[in-house]
Symmetry: C2
Subunit: 136 residues, 2 copies
């Protein structure tokens, strides 16, 4: 089901801004976006879309499990399409390319963290970073 239908189903209003954002997310070919980058893309389609609306829309899409967000090493936010194959990512410190880690890797990491710390509901809010194959 496409993102707009998902909004409809949940009785959120399908506004122009939301259509534009959903379209970019579904069709741009990218899998991750900063709010600002997404805003720039949105402006090419509708010049009146505000950055605040981008943030609010991303927040909404996160609530209904279409996107998730994480933080770049520097601290600012980056949004990902939720992908059944991967929920953790590693970014290249040099070229910025992002690699999607396997779910099994994520699961194993969480198990290690859990047995060491005894914490529950563990999450990692940050992208891992390193140097990718091409840049080393």
């Amino acid at each position: 089901m496409d993102f707009v239908s998902e909004l409809q189903k949940r009785e959120y209003r399908v506004t122009n801004s939301r259509k534009v954002v959903c379209n970019i997310l579904e069709n741009s070919g990218h899998e991750h976006f900063t709010a600002d980058a997404l805003h720039k893309l949105a402006l090419e389609i509708d010049q009146n879309i505000d950055l605040a609306t981008i943030y609010r829309t991303l927040e909404l899409l996160e609530e209904i499990d279409i996107v998730e967000h994480s933080h770049l090493p520097h601290g600012s936010g980056i949004y990902f399409l939720k992908n059944l194959q991967s929920s953790a990512h590693i970014i290249c410190d040099i070229c910025g390319s992002i690699f999607d880690l396997k779910n099994s890797t994520t699961k194993n990491i969480l198990d290690l963290l859990k047995s060491d710390s005894q914490y529950k509901d563990i999450r990692n809010h940050f992208l891992y970073s390193g140097v990718c194959k091409n840049c080393k």
Copy 2:
């Protein structure tokens, strides 16, 4: 070797602000600080120390491997004494208490990340979050 001597050795100037910050880091009993919390402690000793100086001093201490910094889930920075026993931490979403993960846990995580992604020099800002034993 204490932090001030470390500065001296590297020919950085031992100023009052730096002495105050080093003293707090070495003697407060805490292992992690936000810039703001450290600033408040510093003001109790010298009322003229500026937040900007705290940031600059932390940056300097990071350069010479005395502290390292990470980000809270919300995005703002948190500074840790570099500790041979632990370089990764998990913060409780509820009470804010921080647990230091074993180095072996960190090492195992890095191995998992490395074999999945083939990236080198991998880092996380290594602040995970979850719910601690007391809060669950």
